[in-house]
């Protein structure tokens, strides 16, 4: 993993000192709330319904055990003993005091963490494949580029006041686990004909009020030209993105208005002018890259009694089927930790659970922990012979729910329980659906099924790309939910289509079950829900949900 050097640390120290001073000025009345709000937001501090919320960046979803323990410590000292992992792979603390915020930032800086640019109209935390460096199907470790982007985008003098927020995703696997096509920029690592690596560049995807799957504006960008190209995209956006209407300010609107080709021409013309002067020297990429070469792998380690236990213990076998993924090295596996315990709040984790994950990562996982945009955690490098012990420890802590990618692995934003912008709650809807599909046999029989819930049109819960998307709306003062079908945030990215009129809260779980039952009736051998839906269209599902209502 990347380790901060003295320069990285100095940047954080300077920044936390600056924020401490800004908080002081606000409390003393030297800054008005209007002036202070953007400053606190640029340090991740929001005001929610009940308290301030601090969003801590987990850079490209990567944490070490020391950092995880520091987060647990902050949860205990400054919050109510828990944190919430988000679809942006960050962690949020829901009960923070403004007075405490500078001390929290100091505590974070002590372990090389921060909340810089986790809000505001700037370049946000980069999303990376949570299996980076471990995935069997990966071309090259994308984190090298993520770390380089993190540095380049941090306190960028020209691009810190963009028309709107800006999110970049990087993936190096054909299987996209980052939702790259619904980011402002998606970078898909490719191998060129010359054997070198480069990126397919996708610009202008996004969710929110107007969802788009982003178009490709360049099929192949040599990787050593990445930074001049990013600068060109950001400059075109900073100059020409709309600033008159915040709902039309994302780059997706600019790309859609100009058309992908015209936008690409603008970018290429600007890129020409910047030239290689705007690129990062190879030496720096190599320096960063060296930090990501994994030193501790054993060649062909024994798998111990892994197979025997898998055969003998059905519960362990189920965990392995759903939560263990193929590793690039023989004898290793990727362990998915579910933060979707049945009836729990999706993405929430207690301080004790954080400590446990830190311990397991240290003992069995080369000190490497990842957070995923689906609000789960990952131990990317676990030897197969240790998986059983890891599973038992996770299970005892309520972290081994064997439901990764299954129907109870639901994404939900904080919704009206916390969020000041919400129309309706999201958490309780997720909990109710998860309880309905609690039986693991049933969930497995249904197969891959992604439900994503947002409490308002901002789409923090990714509902547009849920196989079933659920959007909270306020209908005559009641919590109602709009269902969409057929979205996907993976390599086959698609925006879901609205199924029909919004439903009251007490009909949502029944509707989901009706859709699932219709799928089980309609599906052919080997089809996932999405495949069936794409073949049949939404008629059978509409019928199932709305028939009896007529």
């Amino acid at each position: 993993m990347y380790r901060y050097d003295a320069i990285d640390r100095a940047v954080l120290a300077d920044r936390t000192a600056e924020f401490r001073d800004q908080v002081r000025r606000r409390l003393a009345g030297e800054l008005t709330e209007d002036q202070f709000k953007p400053l606190r937001l640029m340090n991740g501090l929001y005001l929610q319904l009940h308290a301030y919320m601090l969003r801590v960046a987990v850079p490209y979803g990567s944490l070490n055990p020391v950092q995880m323990r520091a987060l647990a410590d902050i949860a205990r000292r400054f919050d109510r003993g828990y944190g919430h992992f988000t679809t942006r792979t960050n962690i949020q603390f829901n009960w923070v005091k403004l007075d405490d915020a500078p001390d929290i930032l100091d505590a974070l800086a002590a372990v090389d963490l921060h909340a810089i640019q986790t809000s505001g109209n700037c370049i946000r935390n980069v999303t990376a494949d949570p299996y980076a460096g471990a995935a069997a199907d990966e071309l090259e470790d994308p984190r090298v580029w993520c770390e380089a982007i993190r540095q380049w985008s941090s306190l960028h003098p020209e691009f810190s006041f963009l028309p709107r927020k800006f999110k970049i995703a990087v993936t190096a696997s054909p299987h996209d686990r980052t939702a790259a096509k619904v980011h402002d920029i998606g970078l898909l690592l490719r191998r060129g004909r010359d054997g070198e690596t480069g990126f397919e560049v996708i610009v202008g995807g996004g969710m929110g009020r107007t969802p788009y799957v982003g178009p490709t504006i360049r099929a192949y960008l040599p990787s050593d030209r990445l930074f001049s190209y990013l600068e060109a995209i950001l400059r075109v956006y900073n100059r020409h993105g709309r600033r008159d209407n915040i709902y039309k300010a994302r780059i997706k609107i600019l790309v859609a208005a100009l058309g992908a080709e015209a936008f690409a021409r603008e970018v290429e013309a600007e890129w020409e002018k910047i030239g290689p002067e705007g690129d990062l020297p190879r030496a720096e990429i190599d320096r960063i890259g060296a930090a990501f070469t994994n030193p501790d792998f054993v060649a062909d380690p024994a798998s111990g009694d892994f197979e025997a236990r898998r055969a003998a213990e059905p519960a362990f076998a189920r965990f392995v089927r759903n939560n263990l993924k193929a590793h690039i090295r023989p004898g290793y596996g990727i362990v998915d930790i579910s933060l979707k315990g049945i009836g729990e709040t999706p993405g929430d984790i207690s301080a004790d659970q954080m400590d446990l994950v830190a311990d397991l990562a240290e003992r069995f996982g080369q000190g490497d922990i990842r957070s995923t945009h689906e609000q789960n955690l990952v131990l990317p490098h676990v030897r197969l012979e240790h998986v059983h012990e890891v599973w038992k420890a996770l299970d005892a802590a309520g972290l081994a729910t064997p439901n990764i990618n299954l129907i109870s692995d639901i994404i939900a934003c904080p919704g009206l329980d916390y969020c000041a912008l919400a129309n309706a709650r999201a958490i309780c809807v997720a909990q109710d659906i998860a309880r309905r599909f609690e039986t693991p046999e049933r969930a497995e029989a249904i197969g891959e099924f992604k439900i994503k819930i947002s409490g308002c049109i901002n789409a923090c819960g990714h509902h547009h790309v849920g196989h079933i998307g659920i959007l909270g709306v306020d209908k005559k003062g009641e919590e109602f939910y709009q269902l969409t079908l057929g979205g996907s945030g993976a390599e086959d990215a698609a925006v879901g289509k609205m199924l029909g009129p919004a439903l009251p809260i007490d009909r949502v779980t029944d509707a989901v079950e009706a859709i699932v039952d219709a799928y089980l009736r309609e599906r052919r051998e080997g089809e996932r829900f999405l495949d069936t839906l794409r073949r049949t269209g939404d008629a059978p599902f509409k019928e199932a949900v709305y028939a009896e209502a007529h």
Binding site: D5, I7, D8, A10, V11, D14, R15, A17, E18, Q22, Q35, P38, L39, N121, Q151, W152, S154, L155, H156, P157, E158, F159, S160, F161, L162, P163, R235, N238, R239, R243, K273, E277, G278, L280, P281, A283, E284, R287
Partner: protein
Amino acid sequence: MPKLIRSTGGVFEEVEDTFVAIEDEAADPGGDILVSFSRLKGGGEALAARSHGRLGVRLEPEDEIEDLEGRLAGVALVALAFPKFRDGRPFTAARLLRTRLGFKGEIRAVGDVLRDQAGFMVRCGFDAFVPADGATASSWAEAAGRHSHVYQRAADARAPAFVERQGE
């Protein structure tokens, strides 16, 4: 009179503003004048030929900085307006004005100019500031010098982290 802070060789000082903004239709009063971009475009030659006093031009965020190309002769000051501090376009304009158009005169930040952006402004090539938040030359200098390291190249001469590291 709003305060003007100018940086000369990295030293920030409060100075007197000698420029007088004049309306598009108003007669040239002589002395140092600040005109709109359209006036500069319209009366370019007469303005460039002024012998009495210096010339400044004010650009709004929607003005294309490239349109200044070929019109910078005789221009001593370019004022870039921040109608709201959140409007980030002047950062790009200043950077391009310095690095691409090679402008050596004063680039002044006017409008909703807050010290919390001082560091970014200096890095993008601004060297004069009319703060809207009551900042003094010393608080401005402190804010501008807040960060001892930077990660990117910009319009200033600071070495980014990747260059500093090469020297290690």
